[in-house]
Symmetry: C2
Subunit: 192 residues, 2 copies
C-alpha cells in the first residue's frame, strides 16, 4: 500500500486507483463510506482562492475567511459565494444587503488566519486589521491588495449546508501586481 | 508611467494605485469606463481552476472547458457552476439533467484547449478525447485524472450573462496524486 505513484491494478491491467488518507483501492472496490470519501477527496481537487468577506449591519460587524467563491457573470458583474448560514458575516450581509470581498496576496496567510476566529471590532480594526468606510455599509480592510464592493442580488434556496449568495459588484479597487493566495498554496483545507 | 512596483502617489503620500494595460492611476481618479476596467481587472484576481464539463442528451453531446466552478455544500455535496447559456453542454445538461465535471492536471493544457472548440463526437471520442459510459447519460473522458458525476439540482434564474447551475455530486473518481490545472498556471483568461 506504500506505492502511491502508479496506475496499475494488481491484475496487471492498467486501471485507475482511488486514494484516501494514504490508502488506495481499485475503482471497482466500493461501498457507501468509501464513495463518500472519494467524493470528498475529489472535490478537494477543485481550485479555490482564499478571501475575506466582510459586512456590517448597524453596529454589528461580520468578517470571515471564505473560499467557495467564483465569478458568475460579466454583464452585470456577478459573483456567487457559498457561505455558512450561521456565520456572523452571513447574518450581516442579509440584513444590510451589502458585502465586501477582499482578495489576499500569497504573503497574507496570517491575515486569513485572523478571520477564522469570531469577529471582534474595536479601535478602527476588525480582528486587529484596520478598516475604512467604502461606498456601502460594509467595511474595507485596508491592508489587503484588492477588493470588490457588492450588493446582495439574491440568496438562493438550495438544500445544501451553505447559503448560496449572488453578489453584484458595484465598485472595485486593486493595487499593483500581486499573486493571489489560494487554498493550494496554504496549509489549509476548507472544512465548512 | 513605467514604474509598476510602488504604492506611492505623486504627492509623496502612500496610496493605492489602480492599474490596467500598463497604465496606472491613483484610486481617486475615476469615471465609468475606468471603473468597469478596474472591476474586470480585480475579478481576474479571483482564483479559478480549469475543468471540462460534459453532458449528453440522446445522440447529442456537449463538452466545454469551463472555469467558473466551486463547491457549494458538503452535505449533500453540491457544486455551483456558471455556464454560457448558448453552449451545447448547457443545452445537453438541461435536457438530460446530468453532467460530468472533469478536473485536469497541470500537464493537460492541450486537452483543455481542445474543448474551446465546438463539440465533435465520433469513434468513441469527443474532440479527439476518448470517453466511456458512467452512471449517468453524461460521458466520462478517460484521460483526465478526476471527475465528478452530477445530477442537475437547479438552474438559478439570475440577471447575469451566464446560467447558474447547481449540481449534486452522485459519484466521483480520482487517480493518484496530481496537481490540478488552474487559470493562473495557464496562458488564458476566461472571456465568456
Amino acid at each position: 500500500m506504500s506505492d502511491r505513484s502508479g496506475l496499475k491494478a494488481g491484475n496487471g491491467k492498467t486501471s485507475a486507483w482511488c486514494m484516501h488518507n494514504g490508502w488506495r483501492w481499485p475503482e471497482g472496490l466500493s461501498g457507501p463510506a468509501v464513495e463518500t470519501k472519494v467524493k470528498q477527496q475529489t472535490l478537494r481537487k477543485l481550485s479555490n482562492g482564499v478571501y475575506v468577506l466582510t459586512a456590517r449591519c448597524a453596529d454589528r460587524y461580520g468578517a470571515a475567511t471564505v473560499s467557495w467563491v467564483s465569478q458568475a457573470s460579466f454583464k452585470p458583474p456577478l459573483l456567487m459565494a457559498a457561505i455558512r448560514r450561521e456565520s456572523n458575516v452571513f447574518k450581516c450581509l442579509t440584513a444590510s444587503g451589502t458585502a465586501v470581498l477582499h482578495i489576499l496576496s500569497d504573503r497574507q496567510q496570517e491575515i486569513a488566519r485572523r478571520f477564522f476566529s469570531p469577529t471582534h471590532a474595536g479601535g478602527g480594526t476588525l480582528n486587529g486589521e484596520p478598516f475604512a468606510e467604502g461606498r456601502t455599509a460594509a467595511p474595507i480592510l485596508t491592508n489587503l491588495p484588492a477588493h470588490v464592493e457588492c450588493q446582495v442580488e439574491q440568496i438562493v434556496d438550495t438544500n445544501g449546508d451553505h447559503a448560496l449568495v449572488i453578489l453584484r459588484v458595484i465598485a472595485a479597487q486593486c493595487r499593483a501586481s500581486f499573486r493571489p493566495l489560494t487554498i493550494a498554496d496554504s496549509p489549509w483545507e476548507y472544512g465548512g
